[in-house]
Symmetry: C2
Subunit: 469 residues, 2 copies
């Protein structure tokens, strides 16, 4: 799917206009520099050659860029840190890549209103740290949090471990400042806890992957800072079916873990190999559940979770008794992806979300699809959400294996639809999930999407080809 | 603002078509019956004379109605129980009122996926009761919950007491079946806990007050059933400023009451008068906060709330020790509106939402506006959300007082905007808040609204004149 090298675009009248409109240093055209902005982490997806990269430092500069691009019918591809996994930030030929990396001011933290106002280039973890210093917490925690930006998180409606209890990025966005496709600066949403004045344009923009507007400021809701969770329960299972029963049992009992993760035996093996962790290698999978209730409710909930694990025939189930131990048990989850990466293979990351009750069936199908296509598939899952990340692993440079992995990827997407799930739980549509999304939504709902896109970006200059394509 | 009687519409070719397309009894044209469907509880807002009322019993019937209306360019005004307070369900001349009252099946409760699927005419409390029998909880709890329907709640993005901790209706809607303006049946959203495949059309439809589609089925997320809360804290304050400090103190301390309400001295007096409740009449206002944490955390949180009340100079602050006492303390809140209604006056209900820190300032302005216009204003507020319901009370049939109340209503709306708030926190735009919404959003954001409306309802047949009007 890698796009063949395309001829350099003819010189455009746009470039001199951008150079004149923006302060020195904002517009980059050096081919080596531009090369670094051609794609996000979905390097497997097609990506074109941008005309230029711009790094505006203010809303007014973003508006100038969009107005100039609109006037010249040049596409604008907005990106944050480029940590996306679906190709949503991949360049198209002749576009301007608009990077928000220099818009990284935390404008305001307001403890009285429990909100923060940030520029889009603020890194997720930086917002988290700054909020924590004021006794507040920004829950959405994608694995990319040390690098990814709030703007990118908003554009993709990022999830993470916390969302099983605390919701996704959309649940935290109160207001947005946005540059429209016409280059106009508008503010949508509000600073109040509630509000129903007009359509939910904030929610519409969240997750729209830069196709409906360019986000230049984000107002997020914050929660009171939690005490560090003290209780993690880990369960080892010798079958995926038993894992599925354990997840169903925890849900049916009305328990609400603040994180509820699964990693399979391939991840266990990689972590053992890398860190000599001594995890049981014969387990088919491991479930990790964390509770963040205050004690003694935490112990009650953790004990109930352990009982559900045991009732589902866990070969072993352990419970931490303090925050340090709770974190240590989560290491296996945190280390799984880097441990697999460590081996030097190429990893194609899936992101399907199933009804919780179908998780075990889906894991079974994934194993069959991997076997059928002769591709090693490791699995990480936000089990409590039914959000599964099969990792399709192939040796670097092995084109035949890569093609087999791509075939397996497509079959996994189809299976998720068959089982009543969605083709993307949290990574976004971008390029990799466009076909799957079309199958999932069907023509009538796609027509509604295109009508909305047409309404807000009639010339189609905002991230063309992504999502509705 | 009551619309003058308009001449009866000329006979339309639509009626015979509706009668032929629908089973017997679905189409009502008897003037006495039709009269009951002309407006919601915003009787002060204009309302026209419908051509007919239809009460479809299935999605297919709704689609037939919309297709026929679209073909004849006849407006469709959808309504649930008609408990709205903004005129969102008020008829326009010559329209078809589509009542969902007969679509009241609870299609499915799925404890494993923690979701329910219901037809739009299901009454909020009926869903709540049915879910509770399965150990599940549907949080959104507007005051109209004993009568209002889930379809109407979704159309207005209804709030309630719980939302201070648990969010509003939009936070619970996973998927919708909708009849589009063209009469096509589509399904948007998903049954999974997470999903980012495409734009958030579910969120866009929630709160769109029947202007973008007719909702024919709703899939909602449920939570595990809570134990009955045992701790309510009540504080009496002799100034609105002290109330404001108490709300700010509770928020700043990171406390999260599951309900946090205010009623003022006019409400106290009305409750005392009606129920001989013996509440302190000299208090300017009373704050009620409830915690639903498990014990002993509940006692810790309730004690902290009481401390904040005392620190803000409450003249008295009490804490319940069991569920019965906790409920009894909330009676003053529950009885406030009926106690005022009991006096037989006309009540015009406001619904502004302020940043929490501006609540005391807003209450002060409301008092000044009431005094200036010689209108009695009682106040109920979801204090923890900054959502304020000034109740403008005038003697029935006193047209001069009614006009003064309408002037006060408009000034309260303007003050809310001035103080950084929104013109409607949870009741919706309908007709009463259209002008205020325009001032709040400004022309550029309104243009985006109109573009979305045009995209999804190009002929403008769905609830014309409401919201974007």
């Amino acid at each position: 799917m890698v796009a063949p090298p395309k001829p350099q675009q003819p010189p455009s009248a746009l470039l001199p206009e951008l150079l004149a409109a923006l302060p020195r240093g904002r517009v980059l055209t050096d081919p080596d520099v531009v090369e670094r902005y051609r794609h996000d982490e979905a390097e497997w997806a097609e990506h074109g050659r941008p005309l230029a990269v711009v790094r505006p430092e203010s809303t007014a500069e973003v508006a100038s860029v969009v107005r100039a691009c609109a006037a010249h019918h040049v596409p604008v591809v907005t990106r944050g840190a480029g940590t996306g996994l679906s190709g949503g930030a991949n360049a198209v030929d002749g576009c301007v890549v608009l990077s928000t990396e220099r818009m990284r001011a935390i404008v305001e933290i307001d403890p009285g209103e429990r909100l923060a106002v940030v520029q889009p280039g603020v890194v997720n973890d930086d917002l988290r740290t700054t909020a924590a210093a004021r006794g507040l917490w920004y829950p959405p925690d994608p694995a990319s949090a040390p690098w990814s930006t709030i703007g990118g998180n908003v554009a993709t409606n990022a999830g993470g471990l916390c969302c099983v209890k605390y919701g996704v990025t959309r649940d935290y966005v109160l207001a947005l400042e946005v540059v429209t496709a016409a280059g106009e600066v508008v503010r949508v949403g509000r600073r109040t806890a509630k509000g129903v004045a007009g359509y939910d344009l904030v929610g519409l923009l969240v997750g729209s992957e830069g196709t409906l507007g360019v986000i230049t400021e984000v107002t997020v809701r914050l929660r009171p800072l939690r005490a560090a969770p003290t209780r993690t329960v880990v369960g080892f299972f010798d079958s995926l079916a038993a894992c599925g029963r354990a997840v169903a049992g925890v849900t049916a009992r009305g328990l609400e873990p603040s994180a509820f993760e699964l990693i399979d035996r391939h991840c266990l093996a990689a972590v053992n190999e890398w860190k000599h962790a001594g995890l049981p290698q014969n387990a088919a999978a491991l479930l990790l559940a964390r509770t963040d209730l205050p004690e003694p409710a935490a112990e009650v909930e953790a004990t109930a979770i352990r009982e559900e694990f045991e009732g589902a025939d866990a070969t072993e189930a352990l419970m931490s008794t303090d925050a340090v131990e709770a974190e240590a048990l989560f290491d296996a989850r945190r280390l799984a992806y880097p441990a697999l990466e460590q081996r030097g293979d190429a990893i194609l990351t899936e992101d399907v979300c199933l009804p919780r009750g179908r998780l075990a069936a889906m894991l079974q199908r994934v194993a069959e699809i991997g076997a059928h296509h002769d591709v090693l598939v490791a699995n990480i899952a936000h089990a409590g959400d039914g959000n599964l990340h099969p990792l399709l692993i192939t040796p670097h440079g092995d084109d035949a294996a890569r093609r087999r992995a791509q075939a397996a990827f497509a079959e996994i997407v189809d299976s998720a639809i068959d089982l009543g799930g969605t083709v993307t739980g949290e990574h976004g549509v971008g390029l990799l999930k466009r076909d799957g999304m079309r199958r999932e939504l069907g023509p009538a709902v796609l027509a509604l999407h295109r009508a909305v896109k047409q309404a807000l970006d009639p010339a189609g200059i905002l991230n063309p080809g992504k999502v509705v394509g």
